[in-house]
């Protein structure tokens, strides 16, 4: 292996990246866009959901209940109306996610110690959101109801005992259930897949398509020099982009980072090597940019999105799909990132993730070095 030749191939590859608007866009803009997109847009947190209220009683008591809604982070009372048709319209055109109705005999029934029903009309076009809204609403109403009960008993001079049992949920590692904390590892895996496999899957195929490969392989450059020269620039770009994503996540979205930079670097490097070699392998085999890019997307980008535990929890997938995720590097990468970010797991404890990643990297690198021949037929 000659350093000059490797450097020549790498320099040429960098020029290709810089001079092609699309690859430059993917390298420079895509990571930022994806982090922002998922950080804001696909946020799984439901906060400040717009609700409409129809308070048919407008008493001190009904106001007290509404205040609970208003002061929670989850809801935002955008309007108080005084008929059903306005509620219906607001739900129809999506201005309200929920309409909340308090009956006219609200305080009267409560005073009498009876049961009173409040009505919540929920927009269930997105059933996931609807379930969360219902959950939040029930919780708020339940808490209020307990308080009313306590007060009622106290007024009657009874010795007040706190409820005998209560479930206190604490979500560990991600105390505020901020979904951006879950999102960032996934975004990293997606960004790396695009840089690592998608972009590299084009490099060799492009040379075949444009006819530059024939001349290249008639020179003394070795196949290993071609491979490394092509992959090293993407390796550096991939790590750089990972850094951009992490910095954005930590400083913009305040995602907690409890681990070490070393752990992050090692797992990212292993994942990236596996992807680069896979992209190179695909490119060599197909010799066609379109086919190569599609195979690369299906083999890396989609799994990173759907099967890595990024958007959907692996434990909730069907058994068969769970098995499939075991052969996907993205799964181990996302899981290692979650541990590094949220738990601060040190490198030494990450072997269940790092060992499979290292195996993928090794196997794919071996395959990639074997597959490329300086031969036409």
């Amino acid at each position: 292996m000659r350093w000059v030749r490797l450097k020549a191939v790498a320099r040429k590859e960098v020029i290709h990246i810089i001079r092609d608007v699309r690859s430059l866009g993917i390298v420079v803009i895509m990571p930022v866009v994806l982090v922002l997109f998922f950080g804001y847009g696909v946020s799984l947190d439901l906060k400040h959901l717009p609700i409409y209220v129809y308070d048919r009683e407008a008493s001190e008591q009904s106001q007290a209940l509404l205040k609970r809604f208003q002061s929670s982070d989850y809801f935002e009372i955008v309007r108080v109306v005084n008929n059903y048709s306005e509620l219906a319209k607001a739900l129809d055109d999506g201005r309200a996610k929920m309409a909340f109705v308090i009956p006219s005999d609200f305080s009267e029934k409560l005073r009498a110690g009876g049961t009173v029903s409040v009505q919540a009309l929920v927009d269930a076009t997105d059933d996931n959101t609807a379930n969360i809204i219902i959950g939040y609403t029930q919780a708020l109403v339940q808490v209020y109801s307990n308080d009313v009960q306590l007060e009622w008993l106290q007024r009657r001079g009874q010795r007040v005992q706190p409820p005998p049992l209560s479930v206190e949920t604490r979500t560990w590692y991600n105390e505020n259930l901020e979904s951006s904390a879950f999102i960032v590892p996934g975004v990293l895996a997606v960004v790396m897949s695009v840089i690592g496999a998608f972009l590299t899957s084009l490099t060799v195929a492009r040379e075949w398509e444009r006819g530059t490969m024939e001349q290249l392989i008639s020179t003394p450059v070795t196949s290993l020099e071609i491979m490394l020269g092509k992959l090293v620039p993407y390796f550096l770009v991939g790590l750089f982009d990972a850094g951009v994503c992490v910095v954005l996540a930590i400083f913009w979205f305040q995602v907690p980072f409890r681990g070490t930079v070393m752990a992050l670097l090692i797992s990212s490097a292993l994942f990236l090597i596996a992807l680069l070699c896979l992209g190179f392998f695909i490119s060599v085999v197909t010799k066609n940019q379109l086919a190569a890019s599609q195979i690369a997307l299906v083999a890396t980008f989609l799994p990173a999105f759907l099967l890595s535990g990024f958007l959907f929890a692996i434990e909730q997938m069907p058994q068969f799909v769970q098995l499939v995720t075991r052969i996907l590097p993205a799964r181990y990468y996302v899981s290692s990132l979650k541990m590094i970010f949220l738990k601060g797991t040190p490198v030494a404890m990450l072997y269940p993730q790092l060992v499979p990643l290292a195996i993928f990297a090794l196997v794919l690198a071996t395959l990639a070095t074997r597959i490329f021949q300086k031969r036409l037929v």
């Binding site: 000659r2 030749r5 020029i15 530059t212 024939e214 036409l376």
Partner: protein
Amino acid sequence: MNIAAQAAIMLAGLSKSFPGVHAVERLSFEVYPGEIFGLVGPDGAGKTTTLRMLAGVMPPDRGTATVAGFDVGRDPEGAKHHLSYMPQRFGLYEDLTVDENIRFYADLFGVNKAERELRSGQLLRAAGMSEFRGRWAGKLSGGMKQKLGLICALIHRPKVILLDEPTTGVDPVSRRDFWRILYELTAEGVAILTSTAYLDEAERCHRVALLHQGRLLFCDTPAHLKARLGKGVLAVTSPEPRRVREQLQNAEGISSLVLTGDGVHIVVDDVARRMAEFQARLKQAQVPFDQIQRVTPTIEDLFVDAVSGGKVRR
């Protein structure tokens, strides 16, 4: 042993088949240092396949080929330091500038910076391209692209140069530059093997090999080949060459006939006798023609004659 007399390229029974086609069949010839050797043949004759095998980018099926002393079948990488190959299709990077392409190839061949600058300066001047160093290769004209290809191929002073139809689609001026550079190289003892579609270009080679369906028809100097033809060639100049052909193609004593720009070339068995016959025949059929005269045969005449079997129709 006399080094100069040792062949730079040597083929012995070289063969290559693809499914359903013998692209190259038992090809044998030698190219010596300081020689420009032309591979001539119609589409699909096997020129590209031959050059690819010699360049070490396609393994031969049978036979051997030695380039700069290395057997390309056994050690395809060995000769690569000493040869350069310009594929039929433009093989450089269109989004790299002229200088960047040159530097890339210089680096691959281990040419140092001082040598690269000296050599590329000379070559760019010789090619009339000094002012285009910063231009993207993709933005060059066809002729300039080919000249850039040649410059990249020459940057490391190879002993053997393999060119596949290098001047196809190249303007006459660039073509002249191209050939001038090739002739200069022969003075340095470089062996050049070039395929060509232009028969007039084949005549500029020191020796040519005529290739047809993967087989070697003849291999000799252009002058010897012409002498070998033995028969005579008549040139009929006419404003309507097609009608001349129509009228004469079935005439007696013809072994082959080709259209040229301003008439037809006819290879005949007996020049004096046929000239009179053709004149009479064309007059009778009222086909307009300016004159019929004996000409020295061109490679094209030879080639067409060889391909059509060289049999005189009786």
